[in-house]
Symmetry: C2
Amino acid sequence: MTIDRRAAILSAAADLIRENGVAAVRTRDVTARAGVGIGLLNHYFKWGELRALAAAQALWAEIDRVVPDAPTPDRQLDVFLARAFGEDADPLWRLWIEVTDLAMSDPDMARAAEGCAEGILNELAAILEQGAAKRLWHCPAPRAAALRILAFHDGLVGFVLTGLPRVERAEAAEHLNRFVALELGLPQQGCEASWPSASAP
Amino acid sequence: MTIDRRAAILSAAADLIRENGVAAVRTRDVTARAGVGIGLLNHYFKWGELRALAAAQALWAEIDRVVPDAPTPDRQLDVFLARAFGEDADPLWRLWIEVTDLAMSDPDMARAAEGCAEGILNELAAILEQGAAKRLWHCPAPRAAALRILAFHDGLVGFVLTGLPRVERAEAAEHLNRFVALELGLPQQGCEASWPSASAP
DNA sequence: GCATTTCTTGAGCATGTGCTCAACGCATGA
DNA sequence: TCATGCGTTGAGCACATGCTCAAGAAATGC
C-alpha cells in the first residue's frame, strides 16, 4: 500500500530521531529501519521535509510520554514540576534543544516545530487558567505566566543538559518550584530562603 | 613565523564562525581566509579542536562587543537589561545557542565553552553582589540570583530568536525587567501589572 | 492471459569535506 | 656552496551522503 509505506518511512525517521537525535539520522538509516528501498524515500519526500516532519512527530511522541494527564490543575502542575528536570524527560529536552537550534536556519524545521511550541505553551496556560478559575492560585494573565515559566524552565534545562554553566538537577528544580510559587502567589515550601520573598518571617 | 600562522588560522576560524556560525565553517574556508595552505591547518590542529577553540574565541569576542563596562553596578545592570534583547546581541546569542547545542555531543566544544558560561555567570553575580554591598538592591545569594536571571534570559532569548513560541523582543524585555526587579526587591516601573506583585495597589 | 499503470528497488552519480603526504622553499650554519 | 631541517603547500585520497533513474515487481483493467 502506498500510504502505508509513506507512513512507515515517516515513523521510522521519527523513531531514529528519538533514539539518536536529528543530526545523526541518515536517509539510508531510515529506509533500512522502514524496510524499504532507498529510492522510495526520495519518491515520497525531500530529505529536509521528512526530517522536519519526523522531528515534529518525535517531539509529540516525547511530549505524550512525558506529560501525562492528571485529574485536576494542581495535580497537573505538580506533575509538571516533578518531571521538569527528571532524567526521564532528558530525551524530550535534548530533542527540543536540537530542533530549536536547527529551526534558526531551517524553515521546514521551524514550521514543523511551531505547533509543538504553541501546544506546550497553550497546555500550560490552560492549566494555569483552570487553576485560577478554581481559586487554587492567582493568575491574571495565564498565557504570559506560562510563557515566563516555560522560558525559565527552558533556560534551566539548557544549563542542566549542557553543563554550561553547571547546575544540579535538584538545584534547578528548587529554582523552578520557587519561581512558580512566586508567579502564582502560592506559599513557598522548604526552609532555606535563597529566593527573596516579599513576606519573610 | 610559526606561531603567527597558527594564530592566524585560529583567528580566521573565529572570524568565520562569528560571521556564519559554527556549522557553516569548513577547513578550506579557514585556510583561505588565513591565507595559508590547507595542509597547515591539519599540521597545527585537528579540526574538532580548532572548531572548539575558535568558537570559544568567537564567543569571547561577541561578549566583549556586547557587554561593555559601566562605572557602577546599577548602570551595569541597566546596560545588561537594555541590551538583553537588542538586535545587536543577536550574533552572540545565536552563537551561544549553537555552541551549547554542539556541546551536548562534542566534548571539545563543551570544554571550550565552559569558561564562557562561568565567566558570564560570575560577571553578573559580581554586579549583583557589588550592588547589594552598596545597598542599591537586596541580593542575599548573588550567584544563585545570577543563575536564575541568566536562565530566564536564556529561555526568552531562545524564544525570540527561534520564534518557538513566538515572542516579541519588547515583550521579552518587559518580562526580564520585571523578573530582575522582583529578584532584587526593586520597585517595578511601568503601569500594567501583568506580573503578580505582592503589594498591589 | 495480457497490457498498462503504479509502486519499488539499489547500484551508481555528484557533491562535499576532513585529512594525507610527497614535494618544495627557505633560512641556517658549516 | 652545499647540506640540513623546519615550515609550508595543494593535488589527491577516502569516505560520507542526498539523490537519480533505468529497470524490475506488483497491482489493476480489460
